[in-house]
Assembly symmetry: C2
Homo-oligomer: 202 residues x 2
Amino acid sequence: MPRRKAEAGLEPNRRAELLRAAARLFVEKGFAATTTRDIAEAVGMRSGSPFYHFRSKQELLKEAMIDGLEAGRARIAVAIAGVTDPEQRLHLLVRTHLGTLLEGDCNSPMLLNETRSLEVNERAEIAAAFDRYQEPWQATLDELAASGKIRSAAPPLRLFLFGMLNWSGHWYRPDGPLTVDQLAGSAVAMLLGHSAPELSRA
Amino acid sequence: MPRRKAEAGLEPNRRAELLRAAARLFVEKGFAATTTRDIAEAVGMRSGSPFYHFRSKQELLKEAMIDGLEAGRARIAVAIAGVTDPEQRLHLLVRTHLGTLLEGDCNSPMLLNETRSLEVNERAEIAAAFDRYQEPWQATLDELAASGKIRSAAPPLRLFLFGMLNWSGHWYRPDGPLTVDQLAGSAVAMLLGHSAPELSRA
DNA sequence: CGATAATAACCAAGCGCTTGCTTGCTTAAT
DNA sequence: ATTAAGCAAGCAAGCGCTTGGTTATTATCG
């Protein structure tokens, strides 16, 4: 172990740096259009050096996806901890999800687009991570349906919800007319069928 | 002109064949992951021959996108022609859109993901085509808002709608438990806030 | 009408470059 | 002395695209 805590911990974990850079580039340009040289350069390495940390470019993608999903799941778990009202919990889920998607420098859920670039057995791993991510969502939707706040929590609903949220990564601009809070508000309003509080004074 | 109508018009337009094959492959594997050799092979040509019809791989993408959007717009125009009730028109818009997306062999709106693979000036062209495509949608949403069927037709709504519809190309399987009609039904129901007619007996 | 010129639509071959990845070596911390 | 972490250099394969020729169809003209 050469530098577990060098002098002023400047690079305690280059592996994580690689993952963050890779995730950002994969989202920006797509997996196939991103070269391993791009990734290396983004963290100040030479072209072959990332392969000391990762066996292949695909492994870089897989790890970035799993890390991103797991980080998002953790953020969500913290956000909804102790919140019993399903309506409020839905709002927090949406708001936190849009936060990871649009505010962080590593918008992980967008990487789900690139699942097709993985081998079949690798897909199973990220499918499992995605299932864990979806768990609190479906639970909340079920509660909302049980209490009559929405008509049904049947299959297409959750997928529609993720669709509209994830697609926003394609068009949302932070310097545009909408804040992330407003976005979350209208998304929830669309689902629950009442007017969006954040948008009512626009 | 060598074969304007050979014997039994077997290949009246190889250019269109190339476009269809390219569109399908671009959607399946992504633009960057699709090689011009793949496209050539898909129509039974040698690797260099597509460049007789198209100047570059990017031009192939641009033309495929515009063609797809224009075809979708035409399908929609036919579907909603003469329909005055905005509620019914929305349903037809959604149903037709999902049709081009999930049923046709050339699911054109999915290509919008690949806009980033184009040069800036090329993007303007497809942005114009996409605007034409969106026109009847926004008009219908405005009508629905004016008659109080939905709370607001403000900016995020149309984008959310396209998001949830387009994302369905990622998960929908024709052999799954849902028909396209059911999908369209629940999408419309989600927007209008009443129960989905196609799903009420599931 | 038949010979010839012109052209559309390709093929065969390959060029220059980029790609993911490997290999052997160096450096520095343990 | 061992080992984690990285560099320098490069290999083989694949990439988009070009070039020069080939074939079959069509237009032109005496």
